[in-house]
């Protein structure tokens, strides 16, 4: 099988997420009702749910595509048309619109696209099991992993409010060695990962943000292995990368500002 490599990494981070307790919204407000439905299904008090408010005056954020288009814009356009995989689970701010199509319209994307959902916190690692066979052998792809929930349980969740955009190619800076998932309490790492630097967190983007910081500060060495982990309640996802040609990696970090 031809290897997949990451040769571009761009992250967009919401600098000051504005969370409003859902109980402050009018009783019949649709977002309050969705927040109450989420609380009911999780078995928690509705008061624990907050809704993320968009950046004032930012229509793209009101329609929930500002952070993905910001990350994608920062990553830049591919040389040739390729498929974009948007990894995003859960409700969006405005279900009356199509945030993926809006993102593509905003950045002028001309390749295919699709959303990958229901991976929750495993999205940043488990999607590589899909990419392993879904990206044609002679092609690259673009992946945007989103952890920018519209509804937050303020007691139990600490989202990164970020989007990580990755450009995948057949040669490049970070080689995808393997990916998988284990039980959350499993202590054993994949054998190959025994000497890897580990970046770990509870959400889909945590480990990616830590990797970005480590790469920026030069603490990831050429030829080294890095293990990204997403530790959820039910599963622990992992992704093993080899820093094969670090000098080729293009990296950006952009804020989503007020």
């Amino acid at each position: 099988m031809t290897d997949l490599h990451i040769d571009g990494l761009a992250i967009a981070v919401r600098e000051r997420p504005r969370l409003q307790p859902s109980a402050e919204l009018p009783q019949r407000n649709q977002r309050r009702q969705v927040a109450a439905m989420i609380a009911r299904n999780r078995g928690i008090p509705a008061e624990r749910m907050s809704v993320r408010q968009p950046v004032p005056g930012n229509l793209a954020d009101a329609e929930d595509y500002a952070i993905t288009s910001r990350a994608l814009d920062a990553l830049g356009r591919p040389d040739h048309d390729q498929t974009l995989f948007l990894v995003r689970s859960g409700p969006v701010t405005d279900p009356m619109t199509a945030p993926l199509a809006a993102t593509l319209h905003a950045v002028g994307w001309t390749g295919d696209d699709m959303g990958i959902s229901h991976l929750a916190e495993q999205g940043g690692t488990q999607v590589f099991s899909l990419l392993d066979w879904a990206v044609p052998e002679n092609r690259g792809a673009t992946v945007v992993i989103v952890d920018d929930p519209a509804y937050v349980d303020v007691q139990a969740e600490k989202p990164t409010f970020a989007a990580v955009a990755l450009r995948l190619a057949r040669t490049g800076a970070l080689r995808v060695v393997a990916s998988g998932e284990t039980a959350p309490d499993a202590r054993a790492l994949p054998t190959k990962a025994r000497h890897a630097q580990i970046f770990s967190g509870p959400g889909a983007c945590d480990a990616w943000l830590d990797l970005h910081a480590a790469l920026s500060s030069g603490t990831v060495k050429q030829g080294g292995l890095v293990l990204l982990r997403a530790v959820g309640d039910e599963q622990q996802g992992w992704l093993l990368l080899e820093a094969s040609r670090l000098h080729e990696l293009r990296m950006t970090r952009v804020p989503l500002e007020e």
Binding site: M1, Q30, V34, M37, I38, N41, R42, E63, T83, L86, R88, S89, G90, P91, V92, D94, P95, M96, T97, A98, P99, L100, A101, A102, L104, H105, W109, D112, D113, M114, G115, I116, S117, H118, L119, S129, L130, D132, W133, A134, P136, E137, D233, E234
Partner: protein, 329 residues
């Protein structure tokens, strides 16, 4: 992947389609009345769009059970390596309860299968998932016995504001499933995959927030896009649109297909709209459910060529062309 240039390895087949609708039903008129539509507007839905009933889960029914029921029937006890769950809605009450994917896999009897939601492309998600399944079978090291379960379905009745597309349709609850597998493997397909096509026109990403002017442009553009993608898809199979025996449509409204047939020169009786009054639009599963109904009612013969068509908000159009094979005992 969406445009499906047919360069992939080997012939693909689809199993018999399985469909599950709830026992419950609601009249489209009642849903619209509840949402404050005038008598005149409601008559347009009935008289011109041809919509009468919309499947609605009864209080003791669960969407998850419809998905499991459809999936298990399509699997026929033979398992799957990958499950692709195609959905249109992003607010899904039944899927918010923690552990949805694991529960679904366990219910389907395939706890170790890979599981991915295919989403954010609205009502083309199920036909697109068929294309994604083809990628799995085209991967290096693919085995003849590999199987991908494509599962689709949404619960429209969760919220009236999510099930009514103003001036266009009312969507209901339902699930459909089909297994995508190599044609020359251990099982014979009910349908042979011939070709596919897709287009995205993201000018219309504001969907239900579009102005009336944008909605008018959107409706017109969709007619053109369906004709374009259909021509491209049948062309990839070495066919012409006139070679098609059946069109299995997106069941949003009769108005759309009347206009399409007039504009594209397609005979109306080749578009299977029989389910429109009793099932109406059920997000991404319409074309699959029309195919199943045509098969159950004896309309399909060996060698018939069928184009499955889906139109999604955003806007997306997806076409899959299949050929009916001999029914296996």
């Amino acid at each position: 992947m969406g445009a499906s240039p047919d360069t992939q390895r080997g012939a693909m087949g689809l199993s018999q389609v399985s469909v599950r609708f709830p026992r419950g039903n609601e009249s489209v008129d009642r849903v619209l009345e509840r949402a404050g539509y005038s008598v005149f507007e409601r008559r347009v839905f009935a008289k011109f769009h041809g919509l009468r009933d919309t499947p609605t889960l009864a209080p003791d029914e669960r969407m998850e059970d419809l998905l499991v029921g459809a999936g298990r029937e399509a699997l026929a006890g033979r398992g799957a390596d990958v499950v692709l769950y195609a959905h249109s809605q992003v607010v899904q009450e039944f899927a918010i309860r923690p552990g949805f994917a694991r529960r679904l896999l366990a219910g389907l009897g395939v706890p170790r299968a890979e599981f991915y939601g295919i989403s954010h492309i609205n009502c083309v998600s199920m036909l697109r998932a068929v294309e994604v399944a083809r990628r799995y079978h085209a991967r290096p090291g693919a085995r003849q016995g590999d199987r991908v379960l494509v599962l689709g379905g949404d619960q429209g009745s969760y919220d009236d504001s999510a099930r009514i597309i103003p001036g266009v349709t009312v969507a209901g609850d339902g699930a459909a499933a089909v297994v995508v597998h190599p044609s020359r493997g251990h099982e014979s397909p009910r349908y042979r995959y011939l070709s596919g096509g897709a287009i995205r026109d993201d000018r219309f990403h504001r969907v239900l927030r579009m102005t009336q002017e944008e909605l008018t442009r959107y409706a017109k553009a969709c007619l053109g896009h369906v004709a374009t993608v259909l021509h491209e898809a049948v062309g990839r199979a070495g066919l012409r649109v006139t070679d098609l025996d059946w069109i299995m449509p997106d069941l949003t409204s009769a108005t759309f297909w009347r206009d399409f047939c007039s504009a594209a020169g397609v005979e109306r009786d080749r578009v299977c709209l029989n389910l429109l009054p009793i099932r109406g639009h059920n997000f991404g599963i319409d074309a699959m459910s029309a195919l199943r109904h045509a098969d159950l009612t004896g309309r399909l013969r060996h060698g018939d060529r069928c184009a499955l068509i889906a139109v999604g908000a955003g806007a997306y159009v997806q076409v899959v062309v299949v050929e009916v094979m001999d029914e296996q005992p």
